[in-house]
Protein backbone atom coordinates (compact mmCIF):
# COMPACT_ATOMS: atom_id res chain seq x y z
CA UNK A 1 0.00 0.00 0.00
CA UNK A 2 1.34 3.43 -0.93
CA UNK A 3 -0.96 5.95 0.71
CA UNK A 4 1.34 8.91 0.09
CA UNK A 5 0.58 8.47 -3.60
CA UNK A 6 -2.76 9.11 -5.20
CA UNK A 7 -1.50 7.13 -8.20
CA UNK A 8 1.31 4.63 -8.37
CA UNK A 9 1.98 2.40 -11.33
CA UNK A 10 4.61 -0.29 -11.37
CA UNK A 11 6.10 -1.56 -14.62
CA UNK A 12 3.06 -0.52 -16.62
CA UNK A 13 3.30 -1.78 -20.19
CA UNK A 14 0.69 -1.85 -22.92
CA UNK A 15 0.57 -2.95 -26.52
CA UNK A 16 -2.30 -2.49 -28.96
CA UNK A 17 -3.10 -5.55 -31.03
CA UNK A 18 -0.26 -6.46 -33.37
CA UNK A 19 1.52 -3.19 -32.64
CA UNK A 20 4.73 -2.18 -30.96
CA UNK A 21 4.79 -1.42 -27.23
CA UNK A 22 2.81 1.77 -26.64
CA UNK A 23 3.92 1.83 -23.00
CA UNK A 24 6.97 0.21 -21.59
CA UNK A 25 7.67 -0.15 -17.87
CA UNK A 26 6.05 3.12 -16.78
CA UNK A 27 6.41 3.78 -13.04
CA UNK A 28 4.21 6.77 -12.41
CA UNK A 29 4.14 8.27 -8.93
CA UNK A 30 1.63 11.04 -8.32
CA UNK A 31 1.78 12.41 -4.80
CA UNK A 32 -1.43 13.24 -2.99
CA UNK A 33 -2.28 16.93 -3.17
CA UNK A 34 0.03 17.58 -6.11
CA UNK A 35 -0.65 18.98 -9.56
CA UNK A 36 1.21 16.56 -11.80
CA UNK A 37 1.94 17.61 -15.36
CA UNK A 38 2.17 14.55 -17.57
CA UNK A 39 4.07 15.70 -20.62
CA UNK A 40 5.00 14.19 -23.90
CA UNK A 41 4.65 14.77 -27.63
CA UNK A 42 1.58 13.49 -29.45
CA UNK A 43 1.62 9.71 -29.69
CA UNK A 44 4.01 9.27 -26.77
CA UNK A 45 1.56 7.20 -24.69
CA UNK A 46 -0.13 9.82 -22.48
CA UNK A 47 -3.73 8.98 -23.37
CA UNK A 48 -3.00 5.24 -23.21
CA UNK A 49 -1.60 5.69 -19.69
CA UNK A 50 -4.61 7.74 -18.59
CA UNK A 51 -7.02 5.27 -20.20
CA UNK A 52 -5.35 2.48 -18.22
CA UNK A 53 -5.62 4.51 -15.01
CA UNK A 54 -9.36 4.89 -15.57
CA UNK A 55 -9.95 1.27 -16.55
CA UNK A 56 -10.90 2.20 -20.12
CA UNK A 57 -8.19 -0.17 -21.29
CA UNK A 58 -7.48 -3.49 -19.67
CA UNK A 59 -4.15 -3.59 -17.92
CA UNK A 60 -1.83 -6.05 -19.70
CA UNK A 61 1.34 -5.87 -17.66
CA UNK A 62 2.33 -4.12 -14.46
CA UNK A 63 0.23 -2.87 -11.61
CA UNK A 64 -1.93 0.21 -10.97
CA UNK A 65 -2.70 1.48 -7.48
CA UNK A 66 -4.97 4.44 -6.89
CA UNK A 67 -5.39 5.72 -3.33
CA UNK A 68 -3.34 2.69 -2.30
CA UNK A 69 -5.92 0.26 -3.74
CA UNK A 70 -5.41 -1.96 -6.75
CA UNK A 71 -7.49 -0.67 -9.65
CA UNK A 72 -8.10 -4.15 -11.00
CA UNK A 73 -9.98 -5.27 -7.90
CA UNK A 74 -11.51 -1.99 -6.69
CA UNK A 75 -12.46 -0.26 -9.95
CA UNK A 76 -15.93 0.99 -9.03
CA UNK A 77 -15.07 2.24 -5.52
CA UNK A 78 -12.00 4.02 -6.95
CA UNK A 79 -13.93 5.61 -9.83
CA UNK A 80 -16.40 7.11 -7.33
CA UNK A 81 -13.49 9.22 -6.06
CA UNK A 82 -12.07 10.16 -9.47
CA UNK A 83 -13.17 12.80 -11.97
CA UNK A 84 -11.90 12.65 -15.51
CA UNK A 85 -11.83 14.31 -18.89
CA UNK A 86 -10.21 12.19 -21.58
CA UNK A 87 -9.44 13.94 -24.87
CA UNK A 88 -12.47 15.78 -26.29
CA UNK A 89 -15.50 16.57 -24.08
CA UNK A 90 -17.95 13.68 -23.69
CA UNK A 91 -21.32 15.39 -23.71
CA UNK A 92 -24.84 14.68 -24.92
CA UNK A 93 -25.42 17.40 -27.50
CA UNK A 94 -29.23 17.21 -27.25
CA UNK A 95 -29.24 17.79 -23.48
CA UNK A 96 -28.73 21.00 -21.50
CA UNK A 97 -25.74 21.51 -19.20
CA UNK A 98 -27.86 20.61 -16.19
CA UNK A 99 -29.28 17.48 -17.87
CA UNK A 100 -25.81 16.33 -18.86
CA UNK A 101 -24.80 16.45 -15.22
CA UNK A 102 -28.07 14.86 -14.11
CA UNK A 103 -27.27 11.79 -16.25
CA UNK A 104 -24.35 11.00 -13.91
CA UNK A 105 -25.44 12.68 -10.66
CA UNK A 106 -26.83 9.60 -8.92
CA UNK A 107 -23.88 7.44 -9.94
CA UNK A 108 -21.69 9.61 -7.74
CA UNK A 109 -24.29 10.08 -5.00
CA UNK A 110 -24.21 13.83 -5.63
CA UNK A 111 -27.05 16.12 -4.53
CA UNK A 112 -29.01 18.35 -6.90
CA UNK A 113 -27.37 21.33 -5.20
CA UNK A 114 -23.99 19.96 -6.30
CA UNK A 115 -25.04 20.46 -9.92
CA UNK A 116 -25.58 24.17 -9.22
CA UNK A 117 -22.24 24.32 -7.42
CA UNK A 118 -20.18 22.81 -10.24
CA UNK A 119 -21.98 24.85 -12.90
CA UNK A 120 -21.19 27.95 -10.83
CA UNK A 121 -17.55 26.83 -10.47
CA UNK A 122 -17.03 26.56 -14.22
CA UNK A 123 -19.13 29.63 -15.02
CA UNK A 124 -22.00 27.88 -16.79
CA UNK A 125 -24.76 28.57 -14.29
CA UNK A 126 -26.63 30.83 -16.69
CA UNK A 127 -26.92 28.55 -19.73
CA UNK A 128 -30.55 27.63 -19.00
CA UNK A 129 -32.25 25.58 -21.71
CA UNK A 130 -29.43 25.93 -24.23
CA UNK A 131 -28.42 22.44 -25.35
CA UNK A 132 -24.76 21.39 -25.28
CA UNK A 133 -24.39 21.12 -29.07
CA UNK A 134 -24.97 24.89 -29.26
CA UNK A 135 -22.11 25.58 -26.81
CA UNK A 136 -18.77 26.96 -27.98
CA UNK A 137 -15.79 24.60 -27.64
CA UNK A 138 -14.66 26.47 -24.55
CA UNK A 139 -18.10 26.06 -22.94
CA UNK A 140 -18.13 22.37 -23.82
CA UNK A 141 -14.71 21.96 -22.24
CA UNK A 142 -15.89 23.73 -19.10
CA UNK A 143 -19.01 21.57 -18.94
CA UNK A 144 -16.84 18.47 -19.27
CA UNK A 145 -14.77 19.75 -16.34
CA UNK A 146 -18.00 20.35 -14.37
CA UNK A 147 -18.88 16.73 -15.07
CA UNK A 148 -15.47 15.64 -13.80
CA UNK A 149 -16.00 17.71 -10.65
CA UNK A 150 -19.52 16.40 -9.98
CA UNK A 151 -18.38 13.75 -7.53
CA UNK A 152 -16.21 16.25 -5.65
CA UNK A 153 -13.31 13.96 -6.55
CA UNK A 154 -10.10 13.48 -4.63
CA UNK A 155 -8.31 12.91 -7.91
CA UNK A 156 -8.92 14.75 -11.16
CA UNK A 157 -7.49 13.34 -14.38
CA UNK A 158 -7.47 15.77 -17.30
CA UNK A 159 -6.18 14.75 -20.70
CA UNK A 160 -5.15 17.77 -22.78
CA UNK A 161 -7.95 19.89 -21.28
CA UNK A 162 -6.87 23.08 -23.03
CA UNK A 163 -7.24 21.62 -26.53
CA UNK A 164 -9.21 24.08 -28.63
CA UNK A 165 -9.33 26.77 -25.94
CA UNK A 166 -8.40 30.34 -26.76
CA UNK A 167 -5.65 32.04 -24.67
CA UNK A 168 -8.21 33.54 -22.27
CA UNK A 169 -9.80 30.12 -21.84
CA UNK A 170 -6.41 28.55 -21.13
CA UNK A 171 -5.66 31.13 -18.43
CA UNK A 172 -9.13 30.62 -16.94
CA UNK A 173 -8.62 26.85 -16.89
CA UNK A 174 -5.21 27.21 -15.28
CA UNK A 175 -6.68 29.39 -12.51
CA UNK A 176 -9.50 26.91 -11.97
CA UNK A 177 -7.07 24.00 -11.63
CA UNK A 178 -4.90 25.90 -9.16
CA UNK A 179 -7.99 26.90 -7.18
CA UNK A 180 -9.30 23.33 -7.00
CA UNK A 181 -5.93 22.11 -5.79
CA UNK A 182 -5.51 24.86 -3.24
CA UNK A 183 -9.07 25.03 -1.92
CA UNK A 184 -10.02 21.35 -1.90
CA UNK A 185 -6.59 19.71 -1.80
CA UNK A 186 -7.54 17.88 -4.97
CA UNK A 187 -4.79 15.84 -6.62
CA UNK A 188 -4.70 16.73 -10.30
CA UNK A 189 -3.05 14.81 -13.10
CA UNK A 190 -3.00 16.90 -16.25
CA UNK A 191 -1.54 15.78 -19.53
CA UNK A 192 -0.25 18.05 -22.25
CA UNK A 193 2.18 18.09 -25.14
CA UNK A 194 3.15 21.69 -24.33
CA UNK A 195 5.40 22.20 -21.34
CA UNK A 196 4.92 25.97 -21.36
CA UNK A 197 1.19 25.48 -20.98
CA UNK A 198 1.38 23.54 -17.72
CA UNK A 199 4.61 24.68 -16.07
CA UNK A 200 2.83 27.68 -14.57
CA UNK A 201 0.53 25.49 -12.50
CA UNK A 202 2.14 22.11 -11.84
CA UNK A 203 4.10 21.09 -8.77
CA UNK A 204 5.42 17.86 -10.31
CA UNK A 205 6.29 16.78 -13.81
CA UNK A 206 6.54 13.49 -15.63
CA UNK A 207 7.91 13.40 -19.18
CA UNK A 208 6.99 10.46 -21.36
CA UNK A 209 8.34 9.70 -24.81
CA UNK A 210 7.86 6.63 -26.98
CA UNK A 211 6.06 4.94 -24.10
CA UNK A 212 8.91 5.42 -21.63
CA UNK A 213 8.98 7.77 -18.67
CA UNK A 214 12.13 9.87 -19.16
CA UNK A 215 11.85 12.18 -16.19
CA UNK A 216 9.68 12.38 -13.09
CA UNK A 217 9.90 14.60 -10.06
CA UNK A 218 9.08 17.99 -8.57
CA UNK A 219 9.20 20.97 -10.92
CA UNK A 220 12.17 22.27 -8.91
CA UNK A 221 14.16 19.15 -9.91
CA UNK A 222 13.40 19.90 -13.52
CA UNK A 223 14.62 23.46 -12.98
CA UNK A 224 17.91 22.18 -11.48
CA UNK A 225 18.24 19.89 -14.44
CA UNK A 226 17.64 22.90 -16.64
CA UNK A 227 20.36 25.01 -14.94
CA UNK A 228 22.86 22.24 -15.50
CA UNK A 229 22.13 22.59 -19.16
CA UNK A 230 22.98 26.36 -19.42
CA UNK A 231 25.92 27.07 -21.71
CA UNK A 232 28.06 30.06 -22.61
CA UNK A 233 28.97 30.57 -26.26
CA UNK A 234 32.29 32.33 -26.84
CA UNK A 235 34.08 33.67 -29.93
CA UNK A 236 37.56 35.06 -29.58
CA UNK A 237 40.49 36.14 -31.77
CA UNK A 238 42.06 32.69 -31.10
CA UNK A 239 39.65 29.95 -30.11
CA UNK A 240 42.40 27.35 -29.69
CA UNK A 241 44.10 29.37 -26.94
CA UNK A 242 40.70 30.06 -25.41
CA UNK A 243 40.03 26.31 -25.32
CA UNK A 244 43.31 25.71 -23.51
CA UNK A 245 42.59 28.50 -21.01
CA UNK A 246 39.15 27.10 -20.27
CA UNK A 247 40.25 23.45 -20.30
CA UNK A 248 38.88 22.81 -16.79
CA UNK A 249 35.42 23.66 -18.05
CA UNK A 250 35.62 21.06 -20.82
CA UNK A 251 34.89 23.39 -23.73
CA UNK A 252 33.19 22.14 -26.89
CA UNK A 253 33.94 23.57 -30.31
CA UNK A 254 30.78 24.53 -32.15
CA UNK A 255 31.50 25.81 -35.67
CA UNK A 256 33.59 28.98 -35.20
CA UNK A 257 32.82 29.35 -31.50
CA UNK A 258 33.31 27.36 -28.32
CA UNK A 259 30.82 26.61 -25.60
CA UNK A 260 31.25 25.90 -21.92
CA UNK A 261 28.79 25.01 -19.18
CA UNK A 262 28.05 27.59 -16.47
CA UNK A 263 25.82 27.84 -13.46
CA UNK A 264 25.86 31.52 -12.44
CA UNK A 265 26.31 34.80 -14.31
CA UNK A 266 29.36 35.60 -12.14
CA UNK A 267 31.11 32.75 -13.92
CA UNK A 268 30.53 34.53 -17.24
CA UNK A 269 32.35 37.59 -15.92
CA UNK A 270 35.20 35.42 -14.62
CA UNK A 271 35.62 33.72 -17.99
CA UNK A 272 35.71 37.09 -19.72
CA UNK A 273 38.43 38.30 -17.33
CA UNK A 274 40.51 35.17 -17.95
CA UNK A 275 40.31 35.58 -21.71
CA UNK A 276 41.06 39.31 -21.79
CA UNK A 277 43.89 38.84 -19.26
CA UNK A 278 45.61 36.64 -21.86
CA UNK A 279 45.26 39.31 -24.56
CA UNK A 280 42.46 37.57 -26.41
CA UNK A 281 39.86 39.73 -28.16
CA UNK A 282 36.39 38.58 -27.15
CA UNK A 283 33.90 38.94 -30.03
CA UNK A 284 31.04 36.97 -28.55
CA UNK A 285 30.08 36.09 -25.01
CA UNK A 286 26.57 34.72 -25.18
CA UNK A 287 25.05 32.96 -22.19
CA UNK A 288 22.26 30.63 -23.33
CA UNK A 289 20.08 29.35 -20.55
CA UNK A 290 18.21 26.26 -21.53
CA UNK A 291 14.52 26.99 -20.91
CA UNK A 292 12.16 24.24 -19.92
CA UNK A 293 10.74 24.08 -23.41
CA UNK A 294 14.23 23.48 -24.82
CA UNK A 295 14.94 20.95 -22.09
CA UNK A 296 11.72 19.13 -22.93
CA UNK A 297 12.70 18.99 -26.59
CA UNK A 298 16.23 17.91 -25.66
CA UNK A 299 14.98 15.17 -23.36
CA UNK A 300 12.59 13.79 -25.91
CA UNK A 301 14.77 14.27 -29.00
CA UNK A 302 17.85 12.58 -27.53
CA UNK A 303 15.76 9.46 -27.06
CA UNK A 304 14.48 9.34 -30.63
Amino acid sequence: MNNEYAIKTTGLSYRYAKGADTLSGVNLEVERGSIYGFLGPNGSGKTTTLSLLLGLLTNQQGDIEIFGQRLHTNRISILKRVGSLIESPSLYGHLTARENLEVYRRDYGASKARIDEVLETVGLAGTGQKVAKRFSLGMKQRLAIALALLSNPELLILDEPSNGLDPAGIIELRELIKRLNKTYGMTILISSHLLGEVEKMVSHVGIIFNGKLLFQGPLSSLHSFQQKGSRLFIKTSDNEIACRLLQERRPEVVNDSISVAFKAMSEVAAINKTLTAHNLDVYLLQPKESDLEQLFIDLTSTQS
Partner: protein, 253 residues
Protein backbone atom coordinates in the same frame (compact mmCIF):
# COMPACT_ATOMS: atom_id res chain seq x y z
CA UNK B 1 -30.13 -0.05 -7.08
CA UNK B 2 -27.24 0.77 -9.41
CA UNK B 3 -29.23 -0.80 -12.26
CA UNK B 4 -32.17 1.49 -11.49
CA UNK B 5 -29.85 4.50 -11.40
CA UNK B 6 -28.35 3.49 -14.73
CA UNK B 7 -31.78 2.86 -16.26
CA UNK B 8 -32.88 6.30 -15.14
CA UNK B 9 -29.76 7.79 -16.79
CA UNK B 10 -30.49 5.90 -19.99
CA UNK B 11 -34.07 7.13 -20.01
CA UNK B 12 -32.87 10.71 -19.50
CA UNK B 13 -30.50 10.37 -22.46
CA UNK B 14 -33.43 9.59 -24.78
CA UNK B 15 -35.05 12.92 -23.90
CA UNK B 16 -35.46 15.04 -27.06
CA UNK B 17 -33.99 12.26 -29.22
CA UNK B 18 -35.48 10.82 -32.38
CA UNK B 19 -35.89 7.46 -30.60
CA UNK B 20 -38.60 8.77 -28.27
CA UNK B 21 -40.61 10.63 -30.94
CA UNK B 22 -40.03 7.80 -33.36
CA UNK B 23 -41.70 5.38 -30.90
CA UNK B 24 -44.84 7.48 -30.73
CA UNK B 25 -44.93 8.16 -34.47
CA UNK B 26 -44.32 4.47 -35.27
CA UNK B 27 -47.11 3.44 -32.90
CA UNK B 28 -49.51 5.88 -34.54
CA UNK B 29 -49.01 4.75 -38.16
CA UNK B 30 -51.54 1.89 -38.29
CA UNK B 31 -54.24 3.83 -36.36
CA UNK B 32 -53.72 6.75 -38.78
CA UNK B 33 -53.99 4.46 -41.81
CA UNK B 34 -57.19 3.07 -40.32
CA UNK B 35 -58.64 6.55 -39.76
CA UNK B 36 -57.69 7.60 -43.28
CA UNK B 37 -59.49 4.55 -44.56
CA UNK B 38 -62.56 5.34 -42.48
CA UNK B 39 -62.76 8.91 -43.79
CA UNK B 40 -62.23 7.89 -47.42
CA UNK B 41 -64.06 4.55 -47.70
CA UNK B 42 -66.25 4.46 -44.58
CA UNK B 43 -66.74 1.48 -42.25
CA UNK B 44 -68.67 -0.70 -44.72
CA UNK B 45 -66.04 -3.44 -44.98
CA UNK B 46 -66.05 -4.27 -41.31
CA UNK B 47 -69.68 -5.16 -40.68
CA UNK B 48 -69.03 -8.57 -39.10
CA UNK B 49 -67.51 -8.30 -35.58
CA UNK B 50 -66.06 -4.93 -36.65
CA UNK B 51 -64.34 -3.96 -33.39
CA UNK B 52 -62.27 -7.16 -33.08
CA UNK B 53 -61.61 -7.12 -36.84
CA UNK B 54 -60.08 -3.64 -36.56
CA UNK B 55 -57.91 -4.71 -33.62
CA UNK B 56 -56.85 -7.89 -35.45
CA UNK B 57 -55.85 -5.90 -38.52
CA UNK B 58 -53.92 -3.46 -36.32
CA UNK B 59 -52.08 -6.35 -34.62
CA UNK B 60 -51.30 -8.03 -37.93
CA UNK B 61 -49.96 -4.90 -39.62
CA UNK B 62 -47.80 -4.09 -36.62
CA UNK B 63 -46.58 -7.65 -36.15
CA UNK B 64 -45.84 -8.07 -39.83
CA UNK B 65 -44.04 -4.82 -40.61
CA UNK B 66 -44.14 -1.80 -38.34
CA UNK B 67 -43.05 -3.37 -35.06
CA UNK B 68 -40.07 -5.36 -36.48
CA UNK B 69 -38.93 -2.32 -38.46
CA UNK B 70 -39.31 -0.18 -35.36
CA UNK B 71 -37.19 -2.66 -33.38
CA UNK B 72 -34.47 -2.63 -36.07
CA UNK B 73 -34.33 1.16 -36.01
CA UNK B 74 -34.63 1.77 -32.27
CA UNK B 75 -31.96 -0.82 -31.43
CA UNK B 76 -29.64 1.15 -33.69
CA UNK B 77 -30.74 4.63 -32.64
CA UNK B 78 -30.26 4.16 -28.90
CA UNK B 79 -26.60 3.06 -28.91
CA UNK B 80 -26.02 5.78 -31.52
CA UNK B 81 -26.56 8.31 -28.72
CA UNK B 82 -23.19 7.25 -27.26
CA UNK B 83 -21.41 6.75 -30.60
CA UNK B 84 -22.57 10.08 -32.06
CA UNK B 85 -21.78 12.13 -28.95
CA UNK B 86 -18.48 10.34 -28.33
CA UNK B 87 -19.64 9.60 -24.78
CA UNK B 88 -18.63 5.96 -24.36
CA UNK B 89 -15.51 6.93 -22.43
CA UNK B 90 -17.55 8.97 -19.96
CA UNK B 91 -20.06 6.13 -19.55
CA UNK B 92 -17.28 3.62 -18.94
CA UNK B 93 -15.40 5.78 -16.44
CA UNK B 94 -18.54 6.30 -14.37
CA UNK B 95 -18.63 4.04 -11.30
CA UNK B 96 -20.80 1.36 -12.90
CA UNK B 97 -19.96 -2.15 -13.99
CA UNK B 98 -20.03 -2.92 -17.70
CA UNK B 99 -22.79 -5.43 -17.00
CA UNK B 100 -24.93 -2.68 -15.46
CA UNK B 101 -24.35 -0.43 -18.47
CA UNK B 102 -25.28 -3.24 -20.86
CA UNK B 103 -28.41 -4.33 -18.99
CA UNK B 104 -29.60 -0.74 -18.45
CA UNK B 105 -29.34 -0.06 -22.18
CA UNK B 106 -31.20 -3.27 -22.98
CA UNK B 107 -33.96 -2.42 -20.49
CA UNK B 108 -34.26 1.04 -22.01
CA UNK B 109 -34.83 -0.56 -25.41
CA UNK B 110 -37.44 -2.87 -23.87
CA UNK B 111 -39.19 0.12 -22.30
CA UNK B 112 -39.45 1.78 -25.71
CA UNK B 113 -40.75 -1.45 -27.23
CA UNK B 114 -43.44 -1.69 -24.56
CA UNK B 115 -44.20 2.01 -24.98
CA UNK B 116 -44.69 1.36 -28.70
CA UNK B 117 -47.17 -1.45 -28.04
CA UNK B 118 -49.07 0.45 -25.35
CA UNK B 119 -49.15 3.65 -27.39
CA UNK B 120 -50.29 1.72 -30.46
CA UNK B 121 -53.24 0.25 -28.55
CA UNK B 122 -54.13 3.62 -27.05
CA UNK B 123 -54.02 5.21 -30.52
CA UNK B 124 -56.08 2.46 -32.15
CA UNK B 125 -58.75 2.76 -29.43
CA UNK B 126 -58.76 6.53 -29.96
CA UNK B 127 -59.11 5.92 -33.70
CA UNK B 128 -62.03 3.57 -33.00
CA UNK B 129 -63.74 6.23 -30.87
CA UNK B 130 -63.26 8.79 -33.66
CA UNK B 131 -64.53 6.27 -36.22
CA UNK B 132 -67.58 5.61 -34.07
CA UNK B 133 -68.54 9.27 -34.05
CA UNK B 134 -67.75 9.54 -37.76
CA UNK B 135 -70.16 6.70 -38.54
CA UNK B 136 -72.35 5.81 -35.52
CA UNK B 137 -74.48 3.42 -37.62
CA UNK B 138 -71.98 0.58 -37.16
CA UNK B 139 -72.07 1.06 -33.38
CA UNK B 140 -68.37 0.31 -32.94
CA UNK B 141 -68.37 1.23 -29.25
CA UNK B 142 -71.28 -1.14 -28.58
CA UNK B 143 -69.50 -4.17 -30.06
CA UNK B 144 -68.09 -6.92 -27.80
CA UNK B 145 -64.34 -6.63 -27.22
CA UNK B 146 -62.20 -9.77 -26.93
CA UNK B 147 -59.57 -8.33 -24.60
CA UNK B 148 -57.79 -11.66 -24.04
CA UNK B 149 -57.13 -12.02 -27.76
CA UNK B 150 -55.85 -8.44 -27.97
CA UNK B 151 -53.48 -8.99 -25.03
CA UNK B 152 -52.32 -12.42 -26.28
CA UNK B 153 -51.62 -11.01 -29.73
CA UNK B 154 -49.60 -8.14 -28.24
CA UNK B 155 -47.68 -10.53 -25.97
CA UNK B 156 -46.90 -12.84 -28.93
CA UNK B 157 -45.70 -9.86 -30.97
CA UNK B 158 -43.40 -8.81 -28.13
CA UNK B 159 -42.00 -12.26 -27.34
CA UNK B 160 -41.50 -13.52 -30.90
CA UNK B 161 -39.43 -10.40 -31.62
CA UNK B 162 -36.96 -11.21 -28.75
CA UNK B 163 -34.37 -12.89 -30.99
CA UNK B 164 -34.48 -10.15 -33.62
CA UNK B 165 -34.28 -7.50 -30.89
CA UNK B 166 -31.25 -9.12 -29.20
CA UNK B 167 -29.40 -9.48 -32.51
CA UNK B 168 -30.09 -5.86 -33.48
CA UNK B 169 -29.17 -4.62 -29.99
CA UNK B 170 -25.81 -6.37 -30.26
CA UNK B 171 -25.21 -4.90 -33.72
CA UNK B 172 -26.31 -1.44 -32.59
CA UNK B 173 -23.70 -1.51 -29.80
CA UNK B 174 -21.03 -2.96 -32.03
CA UNK B 175 -21.17 -0.70 -35.07
CA UNK B 176 -20.43 3.01 -34.87
CA UNK B 177 -21.94 3.36 -38.32
CA UNK B 178 -25.73 3.72 -38.26
CA UNK B 179 -26.14 2.30 -41.75
CA UNK B 180 -24.61 -1.15 -41.18
CA UNK B 181 -26.97 -2.54 -38.49
CA UNK B 182 -29.97 -0.86 -40.11
CA UNK B 183 -29.18 -2.31 -43.53
CA UNK B 184 -28.54 -5.79 -42.11
CA UNK B 185 -31.76 -5.61 -40.10
CA UNK B 186 -33.89 -4.51 -43.07
CA UNK B 187 -32.33 -7.09 -45.40
CA UNK B 188 -32.87 -9.91 -42.89
CA UNK B 189 -36.44 -8.77 -42.18
CA UNK B 190 -37.21 -8.88 -45.91
CA UNK B 191 -35.53 -12.28 -46.18
CA UNK B 192 -37.52 -13.63 -43.22
CA UNK B 193 -40.77 -12.30 -44.67
CA UNK B 194 -40.10 -13.80 -48.11
CA UNK B 195 -39.13 -17.13 -46.55
CA UNK B 196 -42.59 -17.32 -44.99
CA UNK B 197 -44.85 -15.65 -47.55
CA UNK B 198 -43.22 -16.63 -50.84
CA UNK B 199 -41.23 -19.80 -50.24
CA UNK B 200 -43.18 -21.26 -47.28
CA UNK B 201 -39.76 -22.39 -46.07
CA UNK B 202 -39.55 -24.76 -43.11
CA UNK B 203 -36.28 -23.03 -42.21
CA UNK B 204 -38.35 -19.98 -41.16
CA UNK B 205 -38.93 -21.73 -37.81
CA UNK B 206 -35.23 -21.22 -37.13
CA UNK B 207 -34.68 -17.82 -38.72
CA UNK B 208 -35.12 -15.06 -36.10
CA UNK B 209 -36.31 -12.47 -38.60
CA UNK B 210 -39.30 -14.68 -39.54
CA UNK B 211 -40.54 -15.37 -36.02
CA UNK B 212 -42.91 -12.39 -35.77
CA UNK B 213 -45.04 -13.85 -38.59
CA UNK B 214 -45.87 -16.99 -36.61
CA UNK B 215 -48.16 -15.00 -34.33
CA UNK B 216 -50.23 -13.55 -37.16
CA UNK B 217 -50.32 -16.13 -39.96
CA UNK B 218 -53.16 -18.59 -39.25
CA UNK B 219 -51.39 -21.46 -41.06
CA UNK B 220 -48.30 -21.03 -38.83
CA UNK B 221 -50.16 -20.95 -35.52
CA UNK B 222 -49.40 -24.62 -34.69
CA UNK B 223 -45.68 -23.84 -34.49
CA UNK B 224 -46.16 -20.65 -32.49
CA UNK B 225 -45.33 -22.10 -29.05
CA UNK B 226 -42.15 -23.71 -30.34
CA UNK B 227 -41.15 -20.48 -32.10
CA UNK B 228 -41.76 -18.47 -28.92
CA UNK B 229 -39.29 -20.69 -27.04
CA UNK B 230 -36.84 -20.63 -29.95
CA UNK B 231 -37.01 -16.84 -30.01
CA UNK B 232 -36.34 -16.60 -26.28
CA UNK B 233 -33.44 -19.05 -26.53
CA UNK B 234 -31.91 -17.21 -29.50
CA UNK B 235 -32.43 -13.93 -27.64
CA UNK B 236 -30.54 -15.24 -24.59
CA UNK B 237 -27.66 -16.51 -26.76
CA UNK B 238 -27.40 -13.25 -28.72
CA UNK B 239 -27.42 -11.23 -25.51
CA UNK B 240 -24.69 -13.36 -23.94
CA UNK B 241 -22.57 -13.06 -27.07
CA UNK B 242 -23.36 -9.34 -27.23
CA UNK B 243 -22.26 -8.81 -23.62
CA UNK B 244 -19.09 -10.84 -24.15
CA UNK B 245 -18.30 -8.69 -27.19
CA UNK B 246 -19.21 -5.45 -25.38
CA UNK B 247 -17.11 -6.26 -22.32
CA UNK B 248 -13.93 -6.94 -24.30
CA UNK B 249 -14.19 -4.23 -26.96
CA UNK B 250 -12.66 -0.77 -26.67
CA UNK B 251 -15.97 1.05 -27.05
CA UNK B 252 -14.44 4.51 -26.69
CA UNK B 253 -12.14 4.30 -29.73
Amino acid sequence: MSLLISLRSEALKTKRTAAFYFTLIGAAIVPLIYLLNVFTDGLSDTKKDPLNAILRLNGEMNGFAFFPLFVVLVCTLLPQIEHRNNTWKQVLTAPRSKATVFVAKLLNVQLLLLLFLVANHVFIFLAIVIAHFADPSVGLLHQPLNGTVVLTRAANTYITISALCAAQFWMGLRFRNFIVPTAIGLAFWLTGTLMVLEYHSRAAEYFPYSFQLFGIMPNLRPQLVQVVWTSLAYGAVFLLLGYWDFSRRRMHQ
